[in-house]
Amino acid sequence: MTSKAKVATVWLGGCSGCHMSFLDIDEKLLDLADRIELVYSPLVDRKEYPEGVDVVLVEGALCNTENLELLLKVRERSRVLVSFGDCAVTGNTSQLRNRLKIDDVLTQVYQAGPGSIPKGPEALEVLPVLLPKVYPLHAAVPVDFYLPGCPPDPDRILKTVTALLAGEKPQLPAESITFG
């Protein structure tokens, strides 16, 4: 058997629903596990995004500087980058804030909101800075394949990953490339 394909998944500004849907592939994950090495993912404990990744699924929109820095690194170190789910493809609900002023958003969440979360300057020291607007991934880096859906259902994820591992361009039917 040839060496296993290096696969990664990344979680940017999203709810992790796409990752949940990925896990919903259920028993077919076992077949997949035989063929891939999961080198980086919120599901594993590696801290630094490795070099030489064959296929990466990136969930979530670009919301803050940390998202952007990681995405640039991911692009540089990966061969095939999949925009994974509606937040990555369109900005989705993450970009609902785009019509608001960023100061108003921060004030609403960190000053007016309930609870004992860091407030004001204290928050700005420990949290990544928000981008002025939320963007889809392809606003910042070239994307090789778009996999829309909120979340993409397990079947379209499996078909996409299977095709990419075989070195083919995924051919999804119309009903499998719908938004939302």
């Binding site: 369109t90 900005g91 119309a174 939302g180």
Partner: protein, 240 residues
């Protein structure tokens, strides 16, 4: 009824004299994507998805408002036309706030369906994310959400031409246009609205919806158009 012949994608076909190119195409088994068009309402050529190439014409023509002429030679799916149709859909996606995942019409939306059919899986254009008038839920039954509107005017035409109330209309021009109620007032205060719901049924997106429906719960039914028009024009009040 006299019949004309047209050549569509290299194949000769026939259509009744006076038919539009869109009707001629569909009668000859050539499907064209449309959003603003709805059989039973007068065509307006607003969405530009049915653009076709007619031999001898210097520009692309919207098939829904172009009368088919004897001997016309038409191309409907050239590389250029397919490219333009995809671009039109991408522009529609970027113009307002189409957030499919939280839309009442998810599953019943013609824009979303067409995007999938034509392979539009993202838009290359920057989202405008406009700040639009608030959602109007002052009406007893219907809601109006400008975020989802593609300015197809199907609601306006149904209200005017089928119901005869002309409650709905359009204000502004170009990218600033908005569907309005009566003299640009809250729907609930309208005296002309008969609450018939035709506008909601003909809306291709989630702009007009039944109040109380949540994500992906909307269903649209446009069969009444055929029935009413048939009755009025041919005096055949039949479901067949």
């Amino acid at each position: 009824m006299s019949v004309i012949t047209v050549t569509i994608n290299g194949v000769e076909g026939s259509a009744p004299a006076g038919a539009t190119l869109l009707e001629a195409c569909r009668q000859n088994g050539v499907e064209l994507p449309t959003l603003c068009h709805l059989e039973g309402l007068t065509p307006v050529g607003a969405c530009r998805l049915c653009l076709v190439q007619v031999e001898g014409a210097r520009r692309l023509l919207p098939a829904c408002v172009t009368e088919a002429q004897q001997g016309m030679v038409v191309q409907t799916h050239t590389e250029k036309l397919v490219k333009y149709r995809k671009m039109t859909l991408e522009l529609l996606l970027s113009e307002r706030n189409h957030i499919c995942s939280v839309c009442v019409a998810n599953g019943a939306c013609e824009l979303r369906t067409l995007c999938a059919q034509l392979g539009v899986d993202h838009t290359r254009f920057e989202y405008r994310c406009p700040d639009l008038p608030p959602i109007d839920t002052s009406h007893e039954r219907n809601g109006l959400d400008h975020n989802r509107c593609i300015s197809c005017t199907r609601c306006i035409r149904a209200c005017d031409q089928i119901e005869g109330a002309h409650t709905l209309d359009m204000e502004g021009r170009g990218i600033e246009n908005r569907v309005i109620i009566d003299m640009n007032q809250k729907w609930g205060t309208s005296r002309s609205c008969t609450k018939c719901g035709k506008c909601v049924n003909v809306c291709p997106t989630g702009t007009l919806f039944w109040k109380g429906s949540t994500v992906a719960e909307m269903e649209k039914e446009v069969g009444f158009l055929h029935w009413i028009r048939g009755g009025r024009e041919k005096k055949t009040w039949s479901y067949l």
